[in-house]
Symmetry: C2
Subunit: 265 residues, 2 copies
């Protein structure tokens, strides 16, 4: 099984390492820049190129891990001289059909994780959501995905969008909450690390409690005094004030509707 | 050293267990309801009461862990017959001065953690922020806190408010992001557990990266296409749309100002 990685960013790097570990051969890395193409090919011990025309035409899989806004043009460029193999992308919010009428066999290979180049991620427990343009392709993708993860799910492009959306909430927005917490403390000379035990416990709780059951704090208690105090403390940052207000209102509304829901039962 | 716990909620329960483990005697639990007073006193093997007048008057510490809106009245009621001992509360956003002119020795004992009654929390690494109304009280509080935690900090009421505010961001609002993620998936029949590896990794990252360096996703990339798609997907929930927009704008603005900041250096 021969794989070409198109793109050499965080996702491609981690995926390439996982393939290598599973004995799947990455034969070539393509990237727009020599630096990142070479960097990843050094790790995977394979060829690299920055010329689309030099991408080998005999691989089994071409996996595109590039920014959404360059994906479509890159597919057109690559497909101009490569006609066989299975074409895949790894994007949460791009349809499988971005390959339609360009190649015969295609699909999506979407690992749900946040990747950094320098942080090792064990793929085994990462959910991989796959989609093929035919039953045959889907089956092949399932086999490929199961070589690196025990959590493989077949999913339509339609539903995959919602996975991506929820990932933005539980990863990107959560991380931004950490940033804001850090900034608030830094203004008073307090290091971020004092928050870490609280951050770990908050995460740990949702492994055995429903998030709604784990909710604590002034908003769920409807403690208007604290909420007003906190909003005043952020007087020099209207964006944070707005976010804080909307969060508190939504927490209160969602917990009230839950209570109403229970009252009905 | 004899402690009376006033309140029998999540914080009092966990604090009582930590005291017991450290060999500090909790002699009595007061709560408004018999059920919770008895429940906690059973765990701690001590007396309980629901009558303020029956609270023993010879303890060394009276620790109030009750809702902010009942704290002040409860202090007045308890102090009507108890004149000695050190009076403490555990609230992030209440001033130390809530005890002023009511008792002689008082302070704050604020453990920064999210507590559930049924989840065991190891106090050792939990930061405890203390404040006494005199140097003598502060020293006694420091000794008490160090019996259960290795992270003890002296802090004014003024700065403690900001600790509480940042805790709301990194705990309460983070947990609400988990709730929203769960709800979005549930609408499409996908279980919350698929998000757990992503949630763990997001938390793990900030133990060795600054949150701003760990930021990923469409907002920090300025990927307007995805942002617009996501907002459309939430068409039946205007509150989430508003939060999503504000989050994305703030992530983008904060990362841009960081870049500008770097450009200046």
């Amino acid at each position: 099984m021969k794989v070409v990685l198109i793109g050499a960013g965080n996702l491609a790097t981690n995926l390439g390492k996982a393939f290598k570990k599973a004995g799947i051969e990455v034969v070539q890395v393509y990237s727009r820049t020599k630096k990142s193409a070479k960097l990843l090919s050094d790790i995977l011990v394979c060829n690299w190129t920055i010329d689309v025309q030099e991408i080998v035409d005999d691989a089994d899989y071409y996996i595109f891990s590039v920014k959404d806004n360059v994906l479509e043009q890159l597919i057109i460029d690559v497909c101009s001289h490569i006609k066989t193999g299975i074409f895949l992308h790894t994007a949460g919010s791009m349809s499988c059909d971005v390959f339609k009428n360009k190649v015969n066999k295609y699909g999506v290979f979407y690992p749900l994780q946040t990747f950094s180049k320098n942080s090792y991620v064990d793929f085994e427990n990462i959910p991989i959501f796959i989609e093929g343009n035919s039953i045959e392709v889907s089956q092949q993708l399932e086999m490929l995905a199961k070589k690196i993860s025990i959590n493989v799910y077949t999913l339509t492009s339609e539903v995959r969008q919602y996975i991506h959306l929820s990932a933005v909430w539980v990863c990107n927005f959560v991380n931004h909450c950490y940033s804001i917490g850090q900034d608030i403390l830094a203004q008073h000379g307090i290091p971020f690390k004092v928050l870490l035990p609280l951050i770990y416990e908050t995460t740990k709780k949702v492994s055995y409690l429903q998030p709604k059951e784990a909710q604590t704090g002034p908003a769920v208690r409807g403690d208007k005094n604290i909420i007003e105090k906190h909003i005043k403390l952020m007087h020099d940052n209207p964006q944070w004030q707005e976010l804080y207000k909307n969060f508190s209102q939504n927490i209160y509304d969602m917990s009230s509707s839950k209570k109403k829901h229970y009252d009905k039962l």
